[in-house]
Structures are given as structure tokens and as C-alpha cells.
């Protein structure tokens, strides 16, 4: 019988492993680390066995000088709730995230909700979401997503969550926390597609809710039906902040251009990026993409958030180069590929992101990984390739 490719690979792996352990006792510390790194590299290159299985811990800890963590905040995003009587599944997932965050010890300084609390923007859905999130022990900051907005153009959402917004704001605001300036945007504004076609509110909502809608309109910050108010506000807001203050921006859509057919996209992303360019440390945390996705453009580090409801496949093109793709989620496990997460803000103003994937090892993506162009602090590459 000829050997199947998998059998050949396994045989080779066992051979290499044996050789590796044979040479181990003969090494001094320096050579030992070198061998450990090499072994890890072999495993990574093969993509066949989990890197944890024999990557030596010491190799990771040998990295010099860790920067102190100044504070942490947590996030929950994209819960896509229906009414409870219609769909328990997504309610379970949202509650799981709340439990997760409440179990963090020490507690995060605050929790950001990343948008798409509701699936179809209905009052019952938004109220259910508010009720679930009210169980959080830490302070909550809300951001809006398109699923919350397009049934009534934000009316109910603003009523429930918009009490402390600045004048003239449709969901955008900023706050300061321990020397870091936080900005929350409403990045899901599109041009008016409903008036001329005389859509009912529910038709408008469903048009927007369909990710693969071939007629879908691209998200913007300051070019949609609300005009450029948000961009003008952002300019004024940033004018008050010194250039070495670390900035963290929350946006529902990615503030860059990833894949237009699914609206993984902000049409005027460059305008926002330009306003953020003069600042030394800028991090953008976005929802909407339901997957581990990370990017660096100029001075800005971008991290996508996980959804609690379902993971989205990676788009066929346009994926940021620095992203390490999560391998395909197991559809038989409701919680695979979904989760919540935390962000560590470091003393030097950088931010690291921890993806708390519910059915997998957590994935840590550091600012250093992004800023080294993917050369340092590389997160573990998944066992199987993403499809």
C-alpha cells in the first residue's frame, strides 16, 4: 500500500521530534533556546501540529523588556439579538459574554459595546440588549451598529443609550480615561437609499442587514445622509488633544477598506485616518467583521472585535496582510469562532488585544507584532489553514 500524505507527514514529524529531543541534553542555554525556536519554526511551517505541543515556553519568555500594562478594558460586540421568544440562541451567547466579563479579576476599567446589539433594530431587541448589558459590573460605553440604526434611523437607540451625547451627535462622543483619549464613532452612515425607492422602515432595515446585498451602500463617517457633522466634530475634538496623548478610536465598521461587497469598508476611511495621522499612538478597535482581523496603516493599529452571535468567513480578497486567519469555525459548536475580549493599554500608549475565543485558546495580538510588520511577537498560527 502506498503511504498517504498524512502518514508520510506524521512519520517525518515523529522523526524530527525524536532527533530534537536527542540533541537536547547536549545543549547549553543559548543553544537550547536556538533549538527551541527552530523547533517552533518547523512546527509552524508544517501547519500540522499545534505550536503549543512542543514549542518551549522559555523561548517566549526570553524576550526582553515587557512594557507595563496601565489598564485594561473589555469588549462585547455584535450580539445581533432578536426578541427572546423568537431566538434564545443569541441571548445565551450575549449572557455568556456578560458572565465572562463579570468574571474578570481584576475587573476591567470599563466595557465597550461594539455595535449591532439588535438584529433588526426593533425596540424589543434593543431593550433586551440593554437589560442584558445592565448586568455588567463595570461601566459600559455604547457604540452603534447598522443593525441598531436603520429601522428607525437611530430613534430608539438614541433614546436608550444617547443621554450623554454631545450636542448634535447621532451616536458619536469622546471621553478621557487615565491619560488616554477615547473616541466613539458612528461609522455606519450611508447615503439615503430608502426615500426614492419608498421603502418601509422594515424594508430599509432588511436591505441594510443583508451583508451580501449586491445593492448595499458603503459605510461612511461623514459622507452619508447625515452630512459631514461627525467629521467636523472629530476635527474639533482632536484639536483639543495633545499630539502625544494616546488615542483609541472605536468604530463599528473597520476604518479602512477590506472588502466592499460585504461592507467590510468605510468609504471615507482615509479622511479619518488623515485626522489621526499627527498623533503618536493611535489604535482603532472595530466591530462588524466578526473575526480576528488586524491591520496597520501608517501610524494606526487596527483590531477587529469578535461577535458573540456568529463568526464570519474571511472575505475572498482584501484581507489585511498582517492578519493571521483563524481557521474555519466548527458549525457544530455554536460558540466556536465567537467570543469577547480585552484590550491592554500599555504605559507607552500602545494597546494589545486579547481575543477571548470561547472554544479555543485565547489569541493575543500585540502592538509590537503590528509595528514590527509581523516579525516580532507573532501570535500562534492555527493548526489547520483557514478555508
Amino acid at each position: 500500500m502506498p503511504k498517504m500524505p498524512s502518514e508520510k507527514r506524521e512519520e517525518q514529524y515523529l522523526k524530527e521530534r525524536e532527533k530534537f529531543f536527542e540533541t537536547l541534553p547536549k545543549l547549553n542555554r543559548r543553544q537550547f533556546l536556538k533549538a527551541a525556536m527552530a523547533s517552533a519554526a518547523v512546527v509552524l511551517a508544517k501547519n500540522q501540529f499545534p505550536p503549543h505541543s512542543f514549542q518551549l515556553v522559555e523561548a517566549v519568555e526570553a524576550k526582553q523588556g515587557k512594557v507595563e500594562v496601565k489598564f485594561r478594558f473589555a469588549y462585547i460586540s455584535d450580539t445581533h439579538l432578536y426578541e427572546r421568544k423568537l431566538n434564545e440562541r443569541f441571548v445565551r451567547a450575549a449572557l455568556k459574554a456578560v458572565e465572562d466579563v463579570n468574571a474578570l479579576d481584576p475587573q476591567p476599567d470599563f466595557v465597550l459595546f461594539g455595535g449591532d446589539l439588535a438584529q433588526l433594530g426593533q425596540a424589543e431587541e434593543l431593550k433586551l440588549g440593554k437589560e442584558i448589558l445592565s448586568q455588567l459590573k463595570a461601566k459600559l460605553y455604547m457604540m452603534v451598529g447598522e443593525h441598531d440604526w436603520y429601522l428607525d434611523l437611530g430613534e430608539k437607540w438614541l433614546e436608550l443609550f444617547g443621554q450623554n451625547l454631545p450636542k448634535g451627535s447621532y451616536g458619536w462622543y469622546s471621553f478621557d480615561h487615565k491619560g488616554v483619549h477615547f473616541i466613539v464613532l458612528n461609522s455606519v452612515i450611508v447615503e439615503d437609499y430608502w426615500t426614492e425607492s419608498k421603502m418601509t422602515p422594515m424594508e430599509r432595515m432588511k436591505f441594510m442587514a443583508q451583508l451580501d446585498n449586491p445593492k448595499g451602500r458603503p459605510f461612511t463617517v461623514g459622507k452619508g445622509y447625515l452630512g459631514d457633522g461627525q467629521i467636523r466634530w472629530l476635527k474639533e475634538d482632536l484639536a483639543k488633544v495633545s499630539k502625544d496623548t494616546p488615542i483609541v478610536v472605536f468604530s463599528h465598521s473597520p476604518l479602512y477598506k477590506y472588502y466592499k461587497p460585504w461592507n467590510f469598508w468605510t468609504d471615507d476611511a482615509e479622511d479619518v485616518q488623515a485626522l489621526l495621522r499627527p498623533f503618536k499612538n493611535v489604535t482603532v478597535i472595530h466591530g462588524h467583521t466578526h473575526q480576528p482581523v488586524f491591520n496597520r496603516i501608517g501610524n494606526i493599529n487596527f483590531y477587529g472585535m469578535l461577535s458573540t452571535a456568529w463568526p464570519w468567513p474571511y472575505a475572498p480578497t482584501g484581507l489585511p496582510k498582517l492578519t493571521i486567519k483563524m481557521n474555519r469555525a466548527d458549525p457544530f459548536d455554536q460558540f466556536d469562532g465567537t467570543g469577547d475580549g480585552t484590550v491592554e493599554v500599555l504605559a507607552n500608549g500602545k494597546a494589545n488585544k486579547i481575543y477571548n475565543l470561547w472554544s479555543r485558546e485565547p489569541m493575543v495580538v500585540t502592538a509590537r507584532y503590528l509595528e514590527s510588520g509581523g516579525k516580532e511577537e507573532v501570535p500562534p498560527v492555527p493548526v489547520d489553514p483557514s478555508f
Binding site: 432578536y82 431566538n87 438584529q119 451580501d212 460585504w262 468567513p313
Partner: protein
């Protein structure tokens, strides 16, 4: 003038002679088409080229009968082929039928009424992404058996969508299969979406 030609012609003949047999043969082949007898049928299109009859040669009666039979057979064969050929109208009809089935599939793929909890297929599979129809049949580890695409469609309807499975010959099932296969092959530019790969995990 004549004097010049009488000099050039022997030179050419000499040249041919010295350039060898091969080039002579090639030259002969090139000219052969013109030399051979071509008989055209009364339809003005069907032709036979006779290799063994020179252009100006008059054929014997037997030979002429043989050629005529050959011409008739060729004509009949071509006609038979043409009658099985489809017209542009045919292909437009087929295209429209296919499009209608794919669109029907698209409709159901985006319809939460297959389930009971508001979820529709496209919510996890925009543009039918991550459905990989090209990998079926395959051993579906979680089901512990060989699955076809329709088994997984039904699995999704029963589980995440909390609905009733469709019969295998349900027109909605067939239409969704048509949409999924079409969407993957036409909307995903990556090569693996276009290559059959049964058994791939």
C-alpha cells in the same frame, strides 16, 4: 530577356538539386493542394479532396461513383451533426432556466422562513462563502458519515436555524444547491473554489 531567363532557370534547378530531397518534398506538399482534385457537392459547401487524382485528370466511371458516394456520405454526416447543434435561441432559454433556478436558490438562502428563529443561511455564509460545495462528498467528522452538500444544508436548517429538514428532492433544496455551487464558482476568485475536491476537509 530570353537570354537572362535561360540562365536563371537552370540555376534554380541546380539550387533545388543541391538543397536536397527534404526541401523538395516540402515544396511538393505546399503545392499539393493546388494540384489535387477537389469535388464540391451541390450544396456548395461539402467538399472532398482527392489525394490520388490529379487536378486535370478525368476519372474513370468506377472512381467517379466512389467519389460521389463519399461526397454524399460526408454531406449526410454533416447534416446529422447540424441537426443536433443548438441555436442561439436554445442557449438563451437554457441560460434563463438556469438563472431562474439560481435565483430561486438565492431567495431561499436568504429566507429565515426555513428556520424558526429568524436566522437565514446568508447570515453565516455571505455569498455562500464557507459552504465549499466542491469538497462534497466527504466524511463529515461531526456526523460520523459521508455527507453530501444537501446533508449539510439540512443540518444547518435543523440546528442553527432550528427548523424542519427539507426532503432531498424538495425544489427548495435543489435550488439552494444550484445557488451555492454557482455562487462559489462565480463570486469567489480563489482557484480552490473552482476545482472539484471531494473528500477535502
Amino acid at each position: 530577356m530570353l537570354k537572362k531567363f535561360s540562365l536563371i532557370i537552370p540555376l534554380i534547378i541546380l539550387g533545388i538539386f543541391f538543397s536536397g530531397k527534404d526541401s523538395l518534398a516540402t515544396k511538393g506538399d505546399k503545392n499539393s493542394k493546388d494540384d489535387k482534385k477537389v469535388i464540391t457537392a451541390c450544396d456548395g459547401a461539402t467538399q472532398v479532396v482527392l489525394n490520388d487524382v490529379a487536378k486535370n485528370e478525368v476519372m474513370t466511371r468506377e472512381k467517379a461513383q466512389e467519389v460521389a458516394s463519399m461526397l454524399l456520405a460526408t454531406y449526410q454526416q454533416q447534416k446529422k451533426y447540424q441537426s443536433s447543434k443548438f441555436t442561439r435561441r436554445d442557449s438563451l432559454i437554457w441560460e434563463r432556466e438556469l438563472k431562474a433556478m439560481i435565483e430561486e436558490g438565492y431567495k431561499w438562502f436568504h429566507d429565515p422562513s426555513l428556520g424558526t428563529n429568524g436566522i437565514s443561511c446568508d447570515m453565516c455564509h455571505p455569498d455562500a462563502a464557507d459552504t465549499h460545495p466542491e469538497t462534497y462528498p466527504k466524511f463529515q467528522i461531526q456526523l460520523k458519515k459521508i455527507a453530501l452538500l444537501r446533508d449539510m444544508i439540512n443540518w444547518c436548517i435543523e440546528n442553527p436555524m432550528e427548523g424542519q429538514p427539507l426532503k432531498e428532492d424538495d425544489p427548495r433544496m435543489k435550488a439552494m444547491e444550484a445557488y451555492i455551487i454557482w455562487a462559489r464558482a462565480n463570486q469567489d476568485p480563489r482557484p480552490h473554489a473552482k476545482i472539484l475536491n471531494p473528500g477535502k476537509r
